[in-house]
Amino acid sequence: MHLNQDKKPTLIWFQGLTCNGNTHSFLNLSNLEQLLNKFEILLHPSLTSTQSFHAITKCKISCDIFIFEGTYDPLMKRNGILVSKIIEYYALCAKHILAVGSCASFGGMFKASAPQRNSGLIFNENEKKGPLLKHQHKLINLSGCPVHPEWLEYILNMIAIKKEIKLDELHRPIELYSNLAHHGCIRNEYFEWKIDANNFGEKEGCLYYKQGCRAPMTHSSCNKILWNEVSSKTRVGTPCFGCTEPDFPRQNLFSTKTNMSIPEDVPLGIPKRSYLTITGIVKTFHIKRLEGKLIDYKTTD
């Protein structure tokens, strides 16, 4: 599939049932202007566009890249026209379809209002079901609540230079989603020694044992490609909510589900028996340096 060589690829950003979180996230991209110069923006909810919303909903023009934000609701209308009709039209003519955010990817937060009816574009949580299934060969899921602006930038750049984008089984780019949010977490020493953070917002301690952190089982590069180039949830003491996964949003996001003090979910790919063995042994040791506030620890008396 090749984009038109002579002109900039055209791009439409269309919204379903959404909080605009992905739109706002994208606006925080530090080099947004350079990126936008590579495309002709036919429609974007917040950026200067060459077409009107009215014109886009009439489905008379085509685009190279169709970006969809929000949960798909088959009963939803925009400008009096069913969203299903609009997305079917653009899915057919576009060369690339990007589902940005977890709502468009898997149903996400806005699926909750009508769980039997609403879904993502080709997935309903992790089940292959959605209005654009027959166009799945050109669809990329960029899950996240919201999508990381640099992940979207990376994919748009890959499309602009016509590079192949390899996807995982949930249609997420492997390059961005093969990492776990755990990778690069600055609390990893606390995870190794099984030292809990007792409250969210604390600088010390691991958030996995009590605070509900899903980083060890969440595919995301949040701690590798930092947010606003400086931070991440776990760096400021908030647990990872697992927002890039199909089962997001889960309940009780700030507490770890345990069975008799044993975490219900253990780090991805680690057998629970092995994990419990390691944990039991490690908890035998007490590392004084890691048990209190780091600034209070004295290396000499």
Partner: protein
């Protein structure tokens, strides 16, 4: 004549040492006692274990692995949680009856001489094969809705403390009935105490 492998020889020493330690006590039993029991020289004994303390720790690991292996079989079976409790109780009492030195060593040496096990055998280091399987048992029981979610050590103490206490009474010849006679009622008591409400 076939040569006895080093591993088999080691198992023989472990078996003899378990009996001597649990019968005579840890401090009274000497390495010459153990060597004599297995028919080897004291010098040769040190080819297998570098000290009495090292042997003591190896024995705990040996018992823990034995218990862990048996509980794992029960954990991986299709039994209900209530049936698994009965199987664990039965297995534990069976060891207490047929291999009493194992439980005796655990109760009378490991739990009573902590100074021997302080360095290199503290916490869960030597008992993890057994404790891990008990963790798996409790985890699975809660996950399937049979057991009430609570602190692991509250449940673990209730289960193993109860069994240890009964075996102690059995060892002291205080129980009026054979240990196996209590299996059913004890299993039911444990299940009733731990089941979900």
């Amino acid at each position: 004549m076939a040569r006895i492998t080093k591993e088999k020889r080691k198992t023989t020493i472990i078996s003899a040492a378990l009996k001597l330690f649990s019968q005579k006590g840890f401090y009274i039993t000497t390495i010459p006692d153990i060597a004599e029991k297995v028919g080897m020289s004291v010098g040769n004994f040190y080819n297998y274990f570098s000290s009495k303390d090292v042997l003591a720790k190896e024995l705990v690991i040996f018992i823990s692995e034995y218990l862990g292996k048996n509980i794992r079989k029960i954990n991986e079976s299709d039994l209900s949680t209530e049936e698994k409790i009965s199987e664990i109780v039965s297995m534990y009492f069976d060891i207490a009856k047929n291999k009493p030195e194992m439980i005796e060593y655990f109760l009378r040496v490991y739990l009573s001489n902590r100074e021997v096990f302080r360095d290199g055998c503290e916490g869960m280091i030597c008992v993890f094969p057994f404790v891990t399987e008990m963790m798996m048992f409790f985890n699975d029981g809660v996950e399937c809705g049979d057991l009430q979610d609570q602190d692991f050590f509250s449940a673990f103490g209730l289960f193993m403390g109860y069994l240890g206490g009964m075996v102690f009474l059995f060892g002291e010849k205080i129980l009026p009935q054979p240990l196996q006679e209590y299996e059913e009622s004890i299993s039911l008591n444990i299940y009733n105490a731990l089941k979900s409400r």
